[in-house]
Symmetry: C2
Subunit: 221 residues, 2 copies
DNA sequence: CTTGAATTGTCACAATTGTTACATTTGAAG
DNA sequence: CTTCAAATGTAACAATTGTGACAATTCAAG
């Protein structure tokens, strides 16, 4: 079932009738791919915006020997490879493969720019999409800059706590393990160590920060 | 020494005279900060573009206890926090502190948009800056998605090798260690293991890929 | 062709994290 | 208030990575 255009983030806060009008003023293409087909090949030039309006695709890196590495799944509505349309490198780094039957709206770069000129809202939406992605990546990467798992967790706890010293964890240990890039029991163990050292008290998801100062120092270890 | 405006990435490929004309048509501000002063506080709303035109600043996370974590250094010419001007979160996540005496051109968000409307080139430059940053972050993050250091290195080697089986490393082990987020001897050790297993031959920076297929399989371990 | 700083190879031991497994507790649904 | 699946606590052992140290090699400058 194809989604409504106004549900696509790029067209957020634009009325359906306006979207139709805007689209009628530019050149674009609708295209459908069968399940399993390759939408984009690694190495292709990214000179068009791909709006996934129906279905699910996956990104894969492909190697000369034919083995593939799955990178991520994306499902409609989604704007593909937004960072490659205007970035320094305009080469798709991955293959995009249709997991289900999928359909796209495809707009050439020059026409995307025309769309920006016609609608400030669409420009702002595009800026928001790509900015939010950069924020997301940046936030994720920050955790990897800490030396030890305990440091990551100390940082996380301080960030989550805000000004309070007592709060409940919003994410499960499984989710935290994925965020930090470690195994689940390691997360629990790190919590335990911080508790043994008297920095926090944790009982299931209820956390008390006992020694905020030392917890902060832990971030640098 | 203040740099020329045309050296600022945002004004790339715009003639100096045109820049002057464009700037005269919008509201903006020049501001100078003394060494050590705080340019932006963590938690401030990011509703303006900060173009660093002279000097160096650092980003720091500050904690309630007063201890700080250095995040990164930035030197002129640099556009600060581009991802926060149009992203979902518009709160500065860090303090920005002047390392030297610094000077900025400050443009409110609404005026930045007007600048985009007046100059397609500037819009493209902004899109390029933020897109390239997302690409950079994405590329860096990819390495953290591998389970082991050997997998990261296998992936790196395949990417660097391209179609050839023989090549020279372009980066030192120190640089690689930083890229992968590990200690330097660990990099050497991982190379050694891959060599002992007969996947590669490495002698200082000269690498031969002996078994590309198994090397690729290593990426999934 | 020297020379010396930078890079790389290597080692032993410490510390951290992964793996597997299972018991316990929680919290939502009935 | 039960019940049960999901989440958490915990343990033992394996595997990986960090640390610090030093020798060997490379490479660029003279």
């Amino acid at each position: 079932m194809e989604i409504k255009l106004s549900e696509i983030p790029l067209f957020k806060n634009v009325q359906e009738s306006d979207i139709q009008m805007l689209l009628s003023g530019i050149v674009f293409q609708r295209k459908t791919y069968a399940e399993g087909s390759m939408v984009v090949s690694q190495g292709d030039e990214c000179n068009r915006l791909l709006l996934l309006v129906e279905g699910t695709v996956k990104g894969e890196m492909i190697s000369p020997a034919g083995k593939s590495l799955k990178i991520e799944d994306m499902q409609a509505p989604y704007a593909l490879a937004t960072a490659f349309l205007f970035g320094k490198s305009s080469i798709f780094p991955v293959n995009i493969i249709a997991v289900t039957e999928v359909s796209f709206i495809i707009i050439q770069r020059q026409e995307v720019i025309r769309l920006f000129q016609k609608s400030e809202q669409i420009l702002l939406n595009y800026l928001s999409i790509i900015s939010s992605r950069a924020q997301f990546l940046s936030e994720k990467l920050r955790f990897h800059s800490f030396k030890s798992l305990k440091a990551k967790i100390a940082f996380y706890l301080i960030k989550e706590a805000g000004k309070d010293n007592s709060f409940r964890l919003l994410q499960s240990q499984n989710e935290l393990a994925e965020l930090f890039g470690v195994a689940r029991p390691s997360v629990g163990r790190a919590f335990l160590v911080l508790q043994e050292e008297g920095l926090i008290d944790i009982r299931y998801r209820q956390v008390e920060i006992l020694d905020r100062k030392r917890l902060i120092e832990y971030c640098n270890e």
